[in-house]
Symmetry: C2
């Protein structure tokens, strides 16, 4: 259940020429692994696949977006920190894109 004030950590994969992204691995291996490692600290998760931009025929800015929700910044940092290395090491298994990470606060 996503609530106001929660911390949302978004991992955005820019849609770049010559890069690849394995959505099947991401959804069925990477995200479940992250969820298991971070445990109860994770209050929600979502994944989206980019389809396009705002104008007809415009490519999506991001080929994929993954989002994790936490109650507080502390619970994110305390759960992610000790597992960061293992999570990062799995990235080359599904993509050669360097993701953009954004930490946000849920307002609506």
């Amino acid at each position: 259940m996503i609530k106001l004030g929660m911390i949302k950590v978004s991992v955005l994969y820019p849609n770049q020429e010559g890069k690849s992204f394995d959505m099947d691995y991401y959804c069925n291996k990477h995200i479940p692994m992250v969820a298991k490692l971070l445990g109860d600290a994770v209050k929600g998760a979502s994944v989206e696949q980019g389809l396009g931009g705002g104008a007809p025929g415009e490519p999506a800015s991001f080929i994929a977006m993954g989002n994790l929700y936490f109650d507080t910044m502390e619970s994110f940092q305390n759960s992610f920190g000790p597992n960061a290395a293992q999570i990062m090491e799995d990235i080359p298994n599904y993509t050669n894109i360097a993701p953009v990470i954004q930490v946000s606060k849920v307002m609506i």
Copy 2:
């Protein structure tokens, strides 16, 4: 209720020097206006405020992100199209940032 396969339309406001964003207006005027104009086609909405990037002290890539969910691409296009001009005209009332628009499919 967000379901697999739904269309998510994200409006991302890049965090740029010298730019402004009125989060109060956005949450309390703009989003309710958009929701009213698009009516039943909108199945969910969320707004996030950028707090930071992935590294300590790194600024957020996006100062704000707004998301709307639709059952199908057609219901997005059919509801948004006739209201696009009115929605676009409201943007200068809360920001001078040119947003990045991304249309995605909900995978998780």
